[in-house]
Symmetry: C2
Subunit: 230 residues, 2 copies
Protein backbone atom coordinates (compact mmCIF):
# COMPACT_ATOMS: atom_id res chain seq x y z
CA UNK A 1 0.00 0.00 0.00
CA UNK A 2 2.45 2.57 1.23
CA UNK A 3 5.10 0.74 -0.73
CA UNK A 4 3.07 1.21 -3.88
CA UNK A 5 2.71 4.92 -3.38
CA UNK A 6 6.40 5.11 -2.69
CA UNK A 7 7.14 3.12 -5.82
CA UNK A 8 5.19 5.45 -8.06
CA UNK A 9 7.02 8.40 -6.56
CA UNK A 10 10.40 6.73 -7.02
CA UNK A 11 9.53 5.95 -10.61
CA UNK A 12 9.27 9.67 -11.29
CA UNK A 13 12.80 10.46 -10.09
CA UNK A 14 15.61 10.43 -12.63
CA UNK A 15 17.66 8.36 -10.21
CA UNK A 16 15.32 5.39 -10.02
CA UNK A 17 13.24 5.78 -13.14
CA UNK A 18 15.09 2.99 -14.89
CA UNK A 19 14.16 0.27 -12.40
CA UNK A 20 11.47 -2.28 -13.15
CA UNK A 21 8.21 -2.43 -11.23
CA UNK A 22 9.13 -5.20 -8.80
CA UNK A 23 12.39 -3.54 -7.90
CA UNK A 24 10.62 -0.25 -7.28
CA UNK A 25 8.17 -1.96 -4.98
CA UNK A 26 10.94 -3.58 -3.00
CA UNK A 27 12.69 -0.25 -2.69
CA UNK A 28 9.48 1.47 -1.69
CA UNK A 29 9.00 -1.11 1.05
CA UNK A 30 12.43 -0.30 2.47
CA UNK A 31 11.81 3.42 2.43
CA UNK A 32 10.96 5.36 5.56
CA UNK A 33 8.51 8.21 5.54
CA UNK A 34 8.65 11.44 7.52
CA UNK A 35 6.55 14.53 7.69
CA UNK A 36 7.51 18.05 8.68
CA UNK A 37 5.70 21.28 9.33
CA UNK A 38 6.50 24.49 7.56
CA UNK A 39 9.82 25.95 8.60
CA UNK A 40 11.34 22.80 10.10
CA UNK A 41 14.83 21.60 9.32
CA UNK A 42 15.19 18.15 7.79
CA UNK A 43 18.90 18.14 8.46
CA UNK A 44 21.60 20.64 9.30
CA UNK A 45 24.85 21.50 7.58
CA UNK A 46 27.59 19.67 9.44
CA UNK A 47 25.47 16.72 10.55
CA UNK A 48 26.71 13.29 9.65
CA UNK A 49 24.17 11.74 7.35
CA UNK A 50 23.62 8.29 5.96
CA UNK A 51 20.30 8.71 4.24
CA UNK A 52 19.01 10.01 0.94
CA UNK A 53 15.70 11.81 0.82
CA UNK A 54 13.05 11.85 -1.88
CA UNK A 55 10.68 14.76 -1.71
CA UNK A 56 7.12 13.43 -1.81
CA UNK A 57 5.16 16.53 -0.93
CA UNK A 58 5.90 20.15 -0.15
CA UNK A 59 8.87 22.30 -1.07
CA UNK A 60 12.19 22.79 0.70
CA UNK A 61 15.13 25.15 0.44
CA UNK A 62 18.79 24.16 0.42
CA UNK A 63 20.73 26.50 2.68
CA UNK A 64 24.48 26.95 2.76
CA UNK A 65 25.62 28.94 5.78
CA UNK A 66 28.88 30.66 6.59
CA UNK A 67 30.57 30.08 9.94
CA UNK A 68 29.33 33.57 10.89
CA UNK A 69 25.74 32.55 10.30
CA UNK A 70 25.01 34.32 7.02
CA UNK A 71 22.91 32.15 4.78
CA UNK A 72 22.76 31.56 1.07
CA UNK A 73 20.00 29.56 -0.58
CA UNK A 74 21.43 27.22 -3.18
CA UNK A 75 18.16 25.92 -4.52
CA UNK A 76 14.54 25.20 -3.78
CA UNK A 77 13.38 21.67 -4.40
CA UNK A 78 9.99 20.19 -5.17
CA UNK A 79 8.72 16.66 -5.74
CA UNK A 80 10.13 14.44 -7.03
CA UNK A 81 13.55 15.94 -6.34
CA UNK A 82 16.13 13.91 -4.45
CA UNK A 83 18.56 15.38 -1.94
CA UNK A 84 21.21 14.27 0.50
CA UNK A 85 23.24 12.17 -1.93
CA UNK A 86 26.42 14.12 -1.40
CA UNK A 87 27.09 13.28 2.24
CA UNK A 88 26.17 9.71 1.48
CA UNK A 89 28.71 9.01 -1.20
CA UNK A 90 31.74 10.21 0.68
CA UNK A 91 30.57 9.73 4.24
CA UNK A 92 31.35 13.36 4.97
CA UNK A 93 29.23 15.85 6.85
CA UNK A 94 26.13 17.32 5.23
CA UNK A 95 27.28 20.20 3.13
CA UNK A 96 24.11 22.23 3.48
CA UNK A 97 20.93 22.44 5.53
CA UNK A 98 17.44 21.63 4.34
CA UNK A 99 14.49 23.64 5.59
CA UNK A 100 10.88 23.15 4.59
CA UNK A 101 8.93 25.95 2.97
CA UNK A 102 5.62 24.17 3.43
CA UNK A 103 4.25 21.13 5.23
CA UNK A 104 6.37 18.41 3.72
CA UNK A 105 6.66 14.66 3.53
CA UNK A 106 9.75 12.80 2.39
CA UNK A 107 10.86 9.24 1.82
CA UNK A 108 14.16 8.19 3.33
CA UNK A 109 16.48 5.58 1.92
CA UNK A 110 19.39 4.41 4.02
CA UNK A 111 22.88 3.93 2.75
CA UNK A 112 22.57 0.18 3.30
CA UNK A 113 19.51 -0.27 1.13
CA UNK A 114 21.08 1.84 -1.59
CA UNK A 115 24.31 -0.14 -1.57
CA UNK A 116 22.23 -3.26 -1.87
CA UNK A 117 20.31 -1.77 -4.76
CA UNK A 118 23.50 -0.80 -6.54
CA UNK A 119 24.87 -4.29 -6.11
CA UNK A 120 21.85 -5.63 -7.99
CA UNK A 121 21.60 -2.78 -10.51
CA UNK A 122 25.01 -1.38 -11.42
CA UNK A 123 23.33 1.05 -13.82
CA UNK A 124 22.16 3.08 -10.84
CA UNK A 125 25.75 4.08 -10.15
CA UNK A 126 25.89 5.76 -13.49
CA UNK A 127 22.77 7.74 -12.67
CA UNK A 128 24.26 8.84 -9.37
CA UNK A 129 27.34 9.97 -11.24
CA UNK A 130 25.24 11.94 -13.66
CA UNK A 131 23.27 13.59 -10.90
CA UNK A 132 26.49 14.61 -9.19
CA UNK A 133 27.79 15.87 -12.50
CA UNK A 134 24.72 18.07 -12.84
CA UNK A 135 25.36 19.37 -9.35
CA UNK A 136 28.93 20.31 -10.17
CA UNK A 137 27.86 22.10 -13.33
CA UNK A 138 25.12 23.96 -11.52
CA UNK A 139 27.50 25.10 -8.80
CA UNK A 140 30.03 26.23 -11.38
CA UNK A 141 27.37 28.24 -13.15
CA UNK A 142 26.33 29.72 -9.82
CA UNK A 143 29.88 30.77 -9.01
CA UNK A 144 30.26 32.17 -12.49
CA UNK A 145 27.10 34.21 -12.18
CA UNK A 146 28.34 35.67 -8.91
CA UNK A 147 31.45 37.06 -10.55
CA UNK A 148 30.22 37.81 -14.07
CA UNK A 149 26.78 39.28 -13.47
CA UNK A 150 25.59 42.24 -11.44
CA UNK A 151 22.66 41.87 -9.07
CA UNK A 152 20.13 42.83 -11.76
CA UNK A 153 21.47 40.08 -13.97
CA UNK A 154 21.35 37.51 -11.21
CA UNK A 155 17.77 38.37 -10.30
CA UNK A 156 16.73 38.19 -13.95
CA UNK A 157 18.45 34.85 -14.33
CA UNK A 158 16.83 33.49 -11.18
CA UNK A 159 13.39 34.41 -12.44
CA UNK A 160 14.10 32.82 -15.80
CA UNK A 161 15.35 29.63 -14.18
CA UNK A 162 12.28 29.37 -11.98
CA UNK A 163 10.02 29.99 -14.95
CA UNK A 164 11.77 27.24 -16.87
CA UNK A 165 10.87 24.49 -14.47
CA UNK A 166 7.87 25.78 -12.59
CA UNK A 167 6.00 27.95 -15.02
CA UNK A 168 2.22 27.93 -15.25
CA UNK A 169 1.49 29.49 -18.62
CA UNK A 170 -1.79 31.12 -17.87
CA UNK A 171 -3.12 32.76 -21.00
CA UNK A 172 0.08 32.89 -23.01
CA UNK A 173 2.14 35.07 -20.67
CA UNK A 174 4.27 32.90 -18.40
CA UNK A 175 3.19 33.51 -14.83
CA UNK A 176 5.19 32.36 -11.86
CA UNK A 177 3.90 31.75 -8.38
CA UNK A 178 7.10 32.30 -6.40
CA UNK A 179 5.86 31.41 -2.94
CA UNK A 180 9.13 32.79 -1.64
CA UNK A 181 9.68 35.94 0.35
CA UNK A 182 11.90 38.66 -1.05
CA UNK A 183 14.36 37.79 1.69
CA UNK A 184 14.57 34.28 0.26
CA UNK A 185 15.06 35.62 -3.23
CA UNK A 186 17.83 37.84 -1.91
CA UNK A 187 19.54 34.88 -0.29
CA UNK A 188 19.37 33.03 -3.60
CA UNK A 189 21.18 35.74 -5.55
CA UNK A 190 23.57 36.88 -2.85
CA UNK A 191 22.06 40.31 -2.38
CA UNK A 192 20.14 42.25 0.23
CA UNK A 193 16.37 42.09 0.53
CA UNK A 194 16.09 45.80 -0.20
CA UNK A 195 18.06 45.63 -3.41
CA UNK A 196 16.00 42.72 -4.70
CA UNK A 197 12.86 44.69 -3.94
CA UNK A 198 14.20 47.66 -5.92
CA UNK A 199 15.24 45.50 -8.82
CA UNK A 200 11.88 43.76 -9.09
CA UNK A 201 10.16 47.13 -9.20
CA UNK A 202 12.75 48.36 -11.65
CA UNK A 203 11.85 45.48 -13.96
CA UNK A 204 8.18 46.23 -13.47
CA UNK A 205 8.64 49.90 -14.34
CA UNK A 206 10.45 48.88 -17.49
CA UNK A 207 7.55 46.62 -18.42
CA UNK A 208 9.51 43.38 -18.20
CA UNK A 209 7.04 41.89 -15.73
CA UNK A 210 4.15 42.59 -13.40
CA UNK A 211 4.13 41.95 -9.65
CA UNK A 212 1.03 40.79 -7.83
CA UNK A 213 1.85 39.80 -4.31
CA UNK A 214 4.13 36.80 -4.57
CA UNK A 215 3.36 36.03 -8.17
CA UNK A 216 5.21 37.38 -11.15
CA UNK A 217 3.73 37.67 -14.60
CA UNK A 218 6.42 38.01 -17.20
CA UNK A 219 5.56 40.38 -20.03
CA UNK A 220 8.84 40.58 -21.89
CA UNK A 221 10.80 37.37 -21.64
CA UNK A 222 13.30 38.59 -24.19
CA UNK A 223 14.18 41.67 -22.17
CA UNK A 224 14.75 39.54 -19.09
CA UNK A 225 16.99 37.22 -21.06
CA UNK A 226 18.97 40.16 -22.33
CA UNK A 227 19.35 41.51 -18.80
CA UNK A 228 20.50 38.06 -17.62
CA UNK A 229 23.19 37.98 -20.29
CA UNK A 230 21.94 34.95 -22.21
Amino acid sequence: MKAEQAATLLARTPLFAGLDASELLALGACAGRRTYQKGEHIFHQGDTGDAVFVLAEGRVKVIFASPEGDEMILATLQPPDVFGELALIDGGPRSASIQTLEPTTVLTLTRATLLELIARHPAVTDLVLRSLGRLVRRMMAQAGDLVFLDLHGRVAKLLLRMIEDRAAHSDGRPSLELRLTQSDLAAMVGGSRQSVNQILHHFERRGYLRLKGQTVIVQDLEALRRRAGS
Copy 2:
Protein backbone atom coordinates in the same frame (compact mmCIF):
# COMPACT_ATOMS: atom_id res chain seq x y z
CA MET B 1 59.31 1.59 -20.13
CA LYS B 2 56.93 4.44 -20.72
CA ALA B 3 54.22 2.28 -19.22
CA GLU B 4 56.27 1.94 -16.05
CA GLN B 5 56.71 5.66 -15.67
CA ALA B 6 53.04 6.10 -16.30
CA ALA B 7 52.23 3.46 -13.72
CA THR B 8 54.24 5.15 -10.98
CA LEU B 9 52.49 8.41 -11.77
CA LEU B 10 49.06 6.79 -11.71
CA ALA B 11 49.88 5.16 -8.39
CA ARG B 12 50.23 8.60 -6.86
CA THR B 13 46.75 9.76 -7.86
CA PRO B 14 43.92 9.20 -5.41
CA LEU B 15 41.82 7.81 -8.24
CA PHE B 16 44.09 4.91 -9.13
CA ALA B 17 46.16 4.50 -5.99
CA GLY B 18 44.22 1.43 -4.94
CA LEU B 19 45.09 -0.65 -7.99
CA ASP B 20 47.71 -3.39 -7.87
CA ALA B 21 50.95 -3.17 -9.76
CA SER B 22 49.99 -5.27 -12.75
CA GLU B 23 46.77 -3.37 -13.25
CA LEU B 24 48.64 -0.08 -13.08
CA LEU B 25 51.07 -1.26 -15.72
CA ALA B 26 48.24 -2.30 -18.01
CA LEU B 27 46.60 1.06 -17.55
CA GLY B 28 49.88 2.86 -18.12
CA ALA B 29 50.31 0.99 -21.37
CA CYS B 30 46.91 2.20 -22.58
CA ALA B 31 47.63 5.79 -21.68
CA GLY B 32 48.55 8.36 -24.27
CA ARG B 33 51.07 11.07 -23.59
CA ARG B 34 51.03 14.66 -24.76
CA THR B 35 53.23 17.66 -24.20
CA TYR B 36 52.37 21.33 -24.36
CA GLN B 37 54.27 24.58 -24.22
CA LYS B 38 53.55 27.31 -21.76
CA GLY B 39 50.26 29.07 -22.42
CA GLU B 40 48.70 26.38 -24.61
CA HIS B 41 45.16 25.14 -24.15
CA ILE B 42 44.70 21.44 -23.46
CA PHE B 43 41.00 21.69 -24.09
CA HIS B 44 38.36 24.38 -24.33
CA GLN B 45 35.13 24.91 -22.48
CA GLY B 46 32.35 23.62 -24.68
CA ASP B 47 34.41 20.97 -26.45
CA THR B 48 33.07 17.47 -26.40
CA GLY B 49 35.56 15.35 -24.53
CA ASP B 50 36.00 11.67 -23.99
CA ALA B 51 39.32 11.57 -22.20
CA VAL B 52 40.59 12.03 -18.70
CA PHE B 53 43.97 13.67 -18.16
CA VAL B 54 46.60 13.01 -15.53
CA LEU B 55 49.04 15.82 -15.01
CA ALA B 56 52.56 14.41 -15.21
CA GLU B 57 54.61 17.57 -15.34
CA GLY B 58 53.99 21.30 -15.25
CA ARG B 59 51.07 23.27 -13.87
CA VAL B 60 47.77 24.24 -15.48
CA LYS B 61 44.90 26.55 -14.68
CA VAL B 62 41.22 25.68 -14.90
CA ILE B 63 39.36 28.52 -16.55
CA PHE B 64 35.62 29.08 -16.51
CA ALA B 65 34.55 31.73 -18.99
CA SER B 66 31.33 33.66 -19.38
CA PRO B 67 29.65 33.93 -22.78
CA GLU B 68 30.97 37.51 -22.88
CA GLY B 69 34.53 36.29 -22.55
CA ASP B 70 35.30 37.24 -18.96
CA GLU B 71 37.34 34.57 -17.28
CA MET B 72 37.47 33.14 -13.81
CA ILE B 73 40.15 30.74 -12.66
CA LEU B 74 38.64 27.90 -10.68
CA ALA B 75 41.88 26.24 -9.67
CA THR B 76 45.47 25.62 -10.55
CA LEU B 77 46.54 22.01 -10.78
CA GLN B 78 49.86 20.29 -10.37
CA PRO B 79 51.03 16.69 -10.63
CA PRO B 80 49.55 14.26 -9.88
CA ASP B 81 46.18 15.98 -10.23
CA VAL B 82 43.56 14.51 -12.54
CA PHE B 83 41.18 16.58 -14.64
CA GLY B 84 38.52 16.14 -17.26
CA GLU B 85 36.42 13.58 -15.39
CA LEU B 86 33.30 15.68 -15.45
CA ALA B 87 32.63 15.73 -19.18
CA LEU B 88 33.44 12.06 -19.26
CA ILE B 89 30.87 10.82 -16.83
CA ASP B 90 27.89 12.52 -18.38
CA GLY B 91 29.07 12.83 -21.94
CA GLY B 92 28.40 16.56 -21.81
CA PRO B 93 30.61 19.36 -23.06
CA ARG B 94 33.74 20.33 -21.15
CA SER B 95 32.65 22.67 -18.43
CA ALA B 96 35.87 24.64 -18.30
CA SER B 97 39.06 25.25 -20.26
CA ILE B 98 42.51 24.09 -19.29
CA GLN B 99 45.52 26.26 -20.04
CA THR B 100 49.11 25.45 -19.18
CA LEU B 101 51.13 27.74 -16.95
CA GLU B 102 54.40 26.02 -17.81
CA PRO B 103 55.69 23.45 -20.27
CA THR B 104 53.49 20.51 -19.43
CA THR B 105 53.09 16.84 -20.12
CA VAL B 106 49.96 14.84 -19.44
CA LEU B 107 48.74 11.28 -19.73
CA THR B 108 45.42 10.69 -21.43
CA LEU B 109 43.02 7.89 -20.68
CA THR B 110 40.11 7.33 -23.00
CA ARG B 111 36.59 6.65 -21.89
CA ALA B 112 36.78 3.14 -23.30
CA THR B 113 39.82 2.09 -21.29
CA LEU B 114 38.29 3.57 -18.15
CA LEU B 115 35.01 1.73 -18.62
CA GLU B 116 37.01 -1.43 -19.07
CA LEU B 117 38.94 -0.71 -15.90
CA ILE B 118 35.75 -0.09 -13.96
CA ALA B 119 34.30 -3.34 -15.18
CA ARG B 120 37.27 -5.17 -13.67
CA HIS B 121 37.56 -2.98 -10.55
CA PRO B 122 34.21 -1.72 -9.35
CA ALA B 123 35.93 0.01 -6.44
CA VAL B 124 37.19 2.65 -8.87
CA THR B 125 33.63 3.89 -9.31
CA ASP B 126 33.53 4.75 -5.66
CA LEU B 127 36.70 6.77 -6.00
CA VAL B 128 35.28 8.65 -8.95
CA LEU B 129 32.21 9.41 -6.86
CA ARG B 130 34.36 10.69 -4.06
CA SER B 131 36.39 12.88 -6.35
CA LEU B 132 33.20 14.36 -7.77
CA GLY B 133 31.93 14.86 -4.26
CA ARG B 134 35.06 16.82 -3.42
CA LEU B 135 34.46 18.92 -6.51
CA VAL B 136 30.91 19.74 -5.48
CA ARG B 137 32.02 20.71 -2.00
CA ARG B 138 34.81 22.87 -3.34
CA MET B 139 32.47 24.68 -5.71
CA MET B 140 29.96 25.25 -2.93
CA ALA B 141 32.67 26.72 -0.75
CA GLN B 142 33.76 28.90 -3.64
CA ALA B 143 30.26 30.22 -4.19
CA GLY B 144 29.89 30.77 -0.47
CA ASP B 145 33.11 32.75 -0.32
CA LEU B 146 31.92 34.95 -3.15
CA VAL B 147 28.84 36.01 -1.24
CA PHE B 148 30.09 35.89 2.36
CA LEU B 149 33.56 37.39 2.10
CA ASP B 150 34.82 40.70 0.79
CA LEU B 151 37.76 40.81 -1.57
CA HIS B 152 40.29 41.05 1.27
CA GLY B 153 38.86 37.90 2.79
CA ARG B 154 38.93 36.04 -0.48
CA VAL B 155 42.54 36.99 -1.16
CA ALA B 156 43.54 35.94 2.35
CA LYS B 157 41.73 32.65 1.95
CA LEU B 158 43.34 32.02 -1.42
CA LEU B 159 46.80 32.54 0.03
CA LEU B 160 46.00 30.23 2.92
CA ARG B 161 44.70 27.53 0.60
CA MET B 162 47.78 27.73 -1.59
CA ILE B 163 50.02 27.56 1.45
CA GLU B 164 48.18 24.49 2.68
CA ASP B 165 49.05 22.35 -0.29
CA ARG B 166 52.08 23.99 -1.79
CA ALA B 167 54.01 25.47 1.08
CA ALA B 168 57.78 25.33 1.31
CA HIS B 169 58.51 26.02 4.95
CA SER B 170 61.81 27.75 4.61
CA ASP B 171 63.17 28.55 8.07
CA GLY B 172 59.96 28.26 10.04
CA ARG B 173 58.00 30.99 8.24
CA PRO B 174 55.84 29.44 5.54
CA SER B 175 56.91 30.84 2.21
CA LEU B 176 54.94 30.46 -0.95
CA GLU B 177 56.22 30.63 -4.50
CA LEU B 178 53.07 31.71 -6.32
CA ARG B 179 54.33 31.60 -9.87
CA LEU B 180 51.13 33.34 -10.85
CA THR B 181 50.69 36.89 -12.06
CA GLN B 182 48.53 39.25 -10.07
CA SER B 183 46.08 39.11 -12.95
CA ASP B 184 45.76 35.39 -12.37
CA LEU B 185 45.27 35.89 -8.66
CA ALA B 186 42.57 38.44 -9.46
CA ALA B 187 40.79 35.98 -11.73
CA MET B 188 40.87 33.40 -8.94
CA VAL B 189 39.11 35.63 -6.41
CA GLY B 190 36.80 37.45 -8.78
CA GLY B 191 38.42 40.85 -8.46
CA SER B 192 40.45 43.29 -10.52
CA ARG B 193 44.21 43.07 -10.81
CA GLN B 194 44.62 46.49 -9.23
CA SER B 195 42.56 45.65 -6.19
CA VAL B 196 44.52 42.46 -5.60
CA ASN B 197 47.72 44.45 -5.83
CA GLN B 198 46.44 46.93 -3.25
CA ILE B 199 45.29 44.19 -0.93
CA LEU B 200 48.59 42.34 -1.05
CA HIS B 201 50.41 45.55 -0.14
CA HIS B 202 47.80 46.26 2.50
CA PHE B 203 48.60 42.91 4.08
CA GLU B 204 52.29 43.64 3.80
CA ARG B 205 51.93 47.02 5.50
CA ARG B 206 50.04 45.33 8.31
CA GLY B 207 52.88 42.85 8.74
CA TYR B 208 50.85 39.82 7.75
CA LEU B 209 53.29 38.89 5.00
CA ARG B 210 56.21 40.01 2.90
CA LEU B 211 56.27 40.27 -0.88
CA LYS B 212 59.36 39.46 -2.90
CA GLY B 213 58.55 39.34 -6.57
CA GLN B 214 56.20 36.44 -7.03
CA THR B 215 56.91 34.83 -3.69
CA VAL B 216 55.05 35.51 -0.50
CA ILE B 217 56.51 34.96 2.95
CA VAL B 218 53.79 34.75 5.54
CA GLN B 219 54.68 36.39 8.84
CA ASP B 220 51.39 36.24 10.68
CA LEU B 221 49.35 33.23 9.69
CA GLU B 222 46.86 33.88 12.44
CA ALA B 223 46.08 37.37 11.17
CA LEU B 224 45.49 36.03 7.68
CA ARG B 225 43.16 33.36 9.04
CA ARG B 226 41.24 35.97 10.93
CA ARG B 227 40.96 38.12 7.83
CA ALA B 228 39.73 35.08 5.87
CA GLY B 229 37.03 34.45 8.44
CA SER B 230 38.16 31.03 9.61
